[in-house]
């Protein structure tokens, strides 16, 4: 167990020091979210009416959840690249904890997600978002968002190990996750969707997590319960972490 922790730290550190040297990734999780906030706020924002709340306040929790779910992309691309380049073989030939390669990868996402979320919130504050609740609720919201992102890192870890090339990881991840984030209450109120989409949005974990984050940060009443959001986080982790680990064992073993 001590080995797992110390090896995870080494791998996490490795994933973080290499990040500033890969400018395209750095751009992806700094400028891209800012761009999204500005586009939604100023392009769509004028046309979208949300009762009882400004669009900036409505939008920010949604975009935070979408962005943090996609933060795991770095894991999918990174693991895939490590496989292609033979680095996974190097790790497997070392007397290190096997789980540390995946744990170190996803833990690094936790850091980058936190940075990206800070950038998003600061941008939000500039365009008219403000926290309407107390510190405790805000912090619970931050924890919820980070955990949701961490759970999705394992989804992406699984996808990254499943496909053959980084390009494939990119498009599979995009096709699988992008619609999930849009057919939800992240960007528009759920009631405005056509019935079949609304039915999907109502059970979409994104909707539930976004609704809860909105409640935690702006005090907007939510149709769901906070425990449901955390239950989704746990469920995604419990399904995808074992899948990713099993896939890692198999990929590396053949």
């Amino acid at each position: 167990m001590r080995r797992l922790l110390s090896d995870t730290l080494v791998v996490t550190e490795r994933n973080l020091i290499r990040l500033p040297r890969a400018p395209e990734l750095l751009l992806a999780f700094t400028f891209q979210p800012i761009m999204f906030v500005l586009l939604f706020r100023y392009v769509f924002g004028g046309a979208i009416r949300v009762p009882g709340i400004s669009y900036a306040e409505f939008l920010l929790p949604g975009i935070v959840v979408q962005n943090i779910a996609f933060g795991g992309f770095v894991t999918a691309l990174g693991l895939n690249e490590d496989m292609q380049k033979g680095l996974i073989d190097r790790f497997r030939s070392l007397p290190m904890s096997r789980a540390a390669v995946l744990a170190g990868r996803t833990s690094a996402d936790l850091f980058t997600n936190a940075v990206a979320m800070a950038i998003l919130v600061l941008t939000g504050l500039v365009i008219g978002f403000s926290f309407q609740t107390d510190v405790v609720h805000v912090v619970i919201g931050v924890v919820l968002a980070l955990l949701f992102g961490y759970a999705f890192s394992w989804v992406f870890a699984f996808l990254g190990l499943l496909v053959k090339t980084p390009e494939a990881a990119n498009s599979v991840g995009f096709i699988a996750v992008f619609p999930l984030t849009f057919i939800s209450s992240a960007f528009v109120p759920g009631q405005t969707l056509p019935t079949p989409l609304r039915q999907f949005a109502d059970v979409n974990p994104f909707t539930i997590v976004v609704n809860e984050l909105r409640w935690l940060w702006t005090g907007q009443p939510s149709p769901d319960q906070l425990w449901q959001a955390f239950a989704w986080v746990a469920f995604i982790l419990l399904v995808f972490a074992p899948l990713a680990v099993q896939r890692y064992r198999r990929t590396a073993g053949t």
């Binding site: 490795r14 033979g86 680095l87 073989d89 030939s93 070392l94 007397p95 290190m96 590396a252 053949t254």
Partner: protein, 334 residues
């Protein structure tokens, strides 16, 4: 008599690994779906020596290395590496081996020093100790000037050296090198050969896979030729060359169209199947003395014009051809 030898060979194949050897494999088999990558491979590498595992792409070299370095489980068979058993003691074994692969398995976005420090820490060293060992290796491998540059700025030869350095972080007594010089320019190849020779002179045992016959000839004390998942010959370079039948006679024809006539004329003095390509006929001859004169006489009688004729020691190319019925390098093209 023959039967007796055979049955004892069979019983050896199922014996336990030889504990005296640094690497000893017995009856290792592995399939991928329908494809039999390794079939009942036995192998011994004595301490402090180099075994060259020679074979074309897809022969099973890498599969064997992956099994002996615990990256892959064998379907059946046992092995002992650096005194530890496979299967059974994989975790401990990883502390005692180094692996450098065909692909330079280093992180391109880390510097040379960061890569080596990371590997050292994953072996369980403290940050300080890992970084000190990293600096020591960078010096040994002539990479000090590049220590603080990201690896993506390195040349191919520098990457291979760093990869080899990463395999040596824990000073392993047994080293596996999977095609260490594939794709390198001649200068970098020579440099890497020097490094490997130094390691061996210091007592490291090396199992080296290669498609290059000159590489095996230069570095290996023993050579095992592997083809289609089986070890088809073993011995020193000289022993293998002797097995091909000693001397080779090479005849350059004036007219390539006469190859068939030449082969027919030389057939009585051949010790193996003659080969011919582009007007060059090669045959193995049992006796050196008088071979050239006899060949010229036979070719003259058959009215075959000769540009050049020479006797030479067989190369490992000839060995490979004689053992497998196909050339090593031609098949090795991906």
């Amino acid at each position: 008599m023959d039967g007796g030898t055979n049955s004892s060979a069979v019983s050896v194949a199922h014996a336990a690994p030889n504990p005296e050897a640094a690497i000893s494999a017995r009856g290792i088999s592995r399939s991928f779906g329908e494809v039999r990558a390794l079939a009942n491979v036995d192998l011994d590498v004595a301490r402090g020596t180099v075994l060259g595992l020679l074979g074309p792409n897809g022969a099973g070299k890498t599969t064997l290395v992956r099994i002996l370095t615990t990256l892959l489980r064998p379907d059946s068979g046992t092995a002992q590496v650096a005194g530890l058993r496979i299967p059974g003691q994989e975790a401990k074994l990883r502390e005692r081996i180094g692996l450098a692969g065909q692909f330079a398995a280093v992180d391109e976005n880390l510097t040379g020093l960061e890569n080596l420090t990371m590997v050292g820490r994953l072996y369980g060293s403290s940050r300080g100790a890992a970084s000190a060992r990293g600096r020591e290796l960078l010096e040994q491998f002539g990479l000090v000037d590049a220590a603080r540059r990201p690896v993506k700025t390195y040349s191919g030869g520098m990457r291979r050296r760093l990869d080899l350095a990463a395999a040596l972080v824990a000073k392993p007594p047994v080293l596996f090198l999977d095609e260490p010089t594939t794709g390198l320019d001649p200068r970098s190849r020579l440099d890497l050969w020097d490094v490997i020779e130094t390691l061996v002179s210091e007592g490291t045992t090396v199992l080296l896979t290669t498609q290059y016959l000159d590489e095996a000839d230069r570095l290996a004390d023993q050579i095992a030729v592997i083809d289609r998942g089986q070890v088809i010959a073993e011995g020193t370079s000289d022993e293998l060359k002797d097995r091909v039948g000693g001397e080779r006679l090479e005849v350059h024809l004036e007219d390539p169209a006469q190859a068939e006539a030449a082969v027919r004329a030389l057939a009585p003095m051949c010790s193996d199947e003659p080969t011919c390509s582009d007007g060059l006929v090669r045959i193995g001859v049992a006796h050196r003395t008088g071979a050239i004169i006899e060949a010229v006489r036979r070719l003259d009688e058959a009215d075959v014009g000769v540009d050049d004729i020479a006797l030479r020691r067989p190369t490992l190319d000839d060995v490979f051809l004689a053992l497998t019925g196909h050339a090593a390098e031609a098949e090795a093209q991906p």
